[in-house]
Amino acid sequence: MGRRTALVASRLVLVAVILAIWQWVPQIPGITRWAPIFDSFFISSPARIAAKFWELATTTGDQGAVLKSGNLFVQLWATLWATLLGFVVGVTSGFLAGLVLSQTRTLADILNPYLVAVNALPRVALVPLIIMIFGTGLGAKVVLAWLIVFFIVFFNTYAGGRALEPSLVDSCRILGASRRQLLRTVVIPHVAGWTFAILPLAMSASIIGVVVGEFVGGAQGLGYIITVALGQLEATDLFVALLTLCVVAVVLIGLATRLEKRLLHWRPEHVGEGGQA
């Protein structure tokens, strides 16, 4: 037990040390000449960030430059809603497309080179194009999230569908399965398994799509706040929004991982490949 406590203690000490450096080193006179990074104008300080969080949580009315009281939750919700919507739409459409295409060999062969080409294009690069076409509202963000999520889910589902062992299908057919029964008890569970395995990555992709969309051309959301704060050099507000965003991201991805584990309880650990953001 002593060892474990020592380990936890040393980690806490490390965190404390980092926070201390962050807080006090910028206060050393002249430090910015030697190490320009330690300018509290740019990197703020733990104290100020904590104060801002407190301020936002406890007061009402107009405070601070970018993040006004009550505003944080509104922005958080804007990002969250777009992320969840994009995730659901992307996963469903990716699953269906992957399922159908993996079972129709000729069509899949025809489209294959184009799929490879699209996969090679980083979808994040399309963000400005989508913003230009769809504007800056919720719709554009969902389209962006959908774009990134769809391809990740699709490619994994498709790969999974193609990897279905013919002997498994034959065996069930001999046991008496009709076409529909085969679909329901063999094809879909098999393919869905691959889809479920990619859920955490898909969630991550959705967040990235929405937030980068907010960076480039948002009117609402945590990404938008961060961009505005960056433009106005409001370091504290930027940190507050960013920390909130990080917590949201970690929680969402964690939930997606939990969901994956639950749905794939019948599998020994097995990660699918294919697709990138």
């Binding site: 498994l168 069930c172 001999i174 046991l175 399965a177 029964q181 008890t185 098999h190 020994p268």
Partner: protein, 223 residues
């Protein structure tokens, strides 16, 4: 080329249940010489027989079994089941145990065993009785709710065997049923299989708790 072993028939004048007549199958791989896997192979399995086809790997055993089960078509020749031609189709009374692992990973052991019965629309009490029998005979009762990934290879093979037996196929084809397993497990499973098959002809003192038993004519291939 497959070699047919001398048979031990319980009833010497029984009719042929499965018959392969002059089956030929060639494989062509691109521009290479076509490879003749089977050349006018004929064999019969009579009712109540257990026929084993032995031969080294690559001699065409799996191909012959696939053709007999209707999973592949021969280049020439035909398959007959109970006198009727069935080339290219799988008759309902035929069961097939694949060489590969065909247990569905997303269902528990008991759901896997019940699979064929569910497909064929069996009644709930019927399903229950047969699954009970299968679990008991294969020694998997305490694993009924386990998932395939939690079982060893030998246990999964037992599940696969039970899946095929539980629908009471009159003809059972088995392709290298215990090929990938270690000798010890192989011997045990061989013994179980023979015991199950033997029970349908003679009642035994260790009757399973239900009165139902399958009664197949098995054909197996092994190396």
């Amino acid at each position: 080329m497959a070699r047919v072993m001398p048979r031990e028939s319980a009833v010497p004048t029984a009719r042929a249940v499965v018959e392969a007549r002059d089956v030929t199958r060639r494989f062509t791989h691109g521009a290479a010489e076509p490879f003749t896997a089977l050349d006018r192979v004929s064999l019969e399995v009579r009712e109540g027989e257990f026929l084993a086809i032995v031969g080294p790997s690559g001699c065409g055993k799996s191909t012959l079994l696939h053709i007999m089960a209707g999973l592949k078509r021969p280049d020439s020749g035909a398959i007959f089941v109970n006198g009727a031609e069935t080339t290219g189709t799988t008759p309902r009374e035929m069961g097939y145990l694949f060489q590969e692992d065909t247990v569905l990973p997303w269902y528990s052991v008991e759901r896997n065993i019940a699979l064929g019965l569910r497909y064929r629309g069996a009644s709930v009490p019927d399903v229950r009785a047969r699954v009970e029998w299968a679990l008991e005979v294969s020694g998997l009762t305490e694993f009924r709710r386990s998932y395939p990934h939690q079982l060893s290879g030998g246990m999964r093979r037992r599940v696969a065997l039970m899946m095929t037996l539980v629908v009471d196929p009159k003809i059972l084809l088995m392709d290298e049923p215990f090929g990938a397993l270690d000798t010890h497990t192989k011997t045990r499973l061989h013994a179980s299989l023979l015991e199950i098959w033997g029970r349908r002809a003679r009642p035994s003192s260790s009757l399973p708790t239900t009165s139902w038993r399958p009664s197949p004519s098995p054909i197996a291939s092994s190396s």
